[in-house]
Symmetry: C2
Subunit: 174 residues, 2 copies
Amino acid sequence: MNDQEKINTAHAQTNLVIRQVINFWEANNKAITAFFNKHEDDVYLGEVAPGRNRGIYLLAHLIATNDALLPLFNLGEKLFPELAPLASEAESAVPFELSIADLRNKWETLNITLAGHFKNLTAEQWLSRHNSVSDEDFALDPTRNKLNVLMNRTSHENYHRGQLIFLNEKVLTV
Amino acid sequence: MNDQEKINTAHAQTNLVIRQVINFWEANNKAITAFFNKHEDDVYLGEVAPGRNRGIYLLAHLIATNDALLPLFNLGEKLFPELAPLASEAESAVPFELSIADLRNKWETLNITLAGHFKNLTAEQWLSRHNSVSDEDFALDPTRNKLNVLMNRTSHENYHRGQLIFLNEKVLTV
């Protein structure tokens, strides 16, 4: 293998792993979308377990947390800043009047917007710092990059999907 | 930048992303470990929600699913083959007699074993096929590699952690 082939191989490896993380994000989005299209709207108004969050709140929470990726990745302003408090606050602290239909639309719009940005980011951009870490701290820990945030944000969707499946579904074992 | 520097930079990027996935796995293991060390043992004998899995079952299920990484990654046989049915079967179908203390030990032993293997795998090995995909299918889809499995397996831990926190904890918003 000559030097140029070695460079190409190494770049292909990096790009492959970046694609895997984006695929992982898209697959989890799809699972959340499928879940919120599966039942009658009323089902999502219930709590996932006694005294726990409602399904509709969790969808708003996922929109709010993912929407924050736009400024965090330097890709623009949040699409739905009015939902931003739901990223960190309980539903009781931040009542909202949106319907499941509204939230489904916002979720879809947000995913399309993010996917459009993500496909244009280079490997260097994915591995550059996100906006809540300083240059100094990033130099100390280069894992505090955008790709790492996306991986963790995707897993956060899965954390809540584990809860959502309790909503009017049969007991699942896995 | 000369060719050798370009090769080094590209390799460093690939290794960084691989390290991020391993860190992600370790951080999630740590969160599961902390959760199962937090309460009195009896707490884990409860169901996470009415009619749903018990905490103790979910720990056994996580051990069984992660133990399967050893043969899947060609790293050896499962440490706890007796738990293997719990990777895919409901607790009612596969009664088991282990205590939380036994399971904590097995979880710890498994994590140490896997971490020992993981630190020795090269980038090429991480990006090579796992044992449940054929050479032919892997050629068609090179994302079916070991690193991708580890990322998804880690998110699977987080899926169940989202359920486990319902066990005798205050309502959490995020």
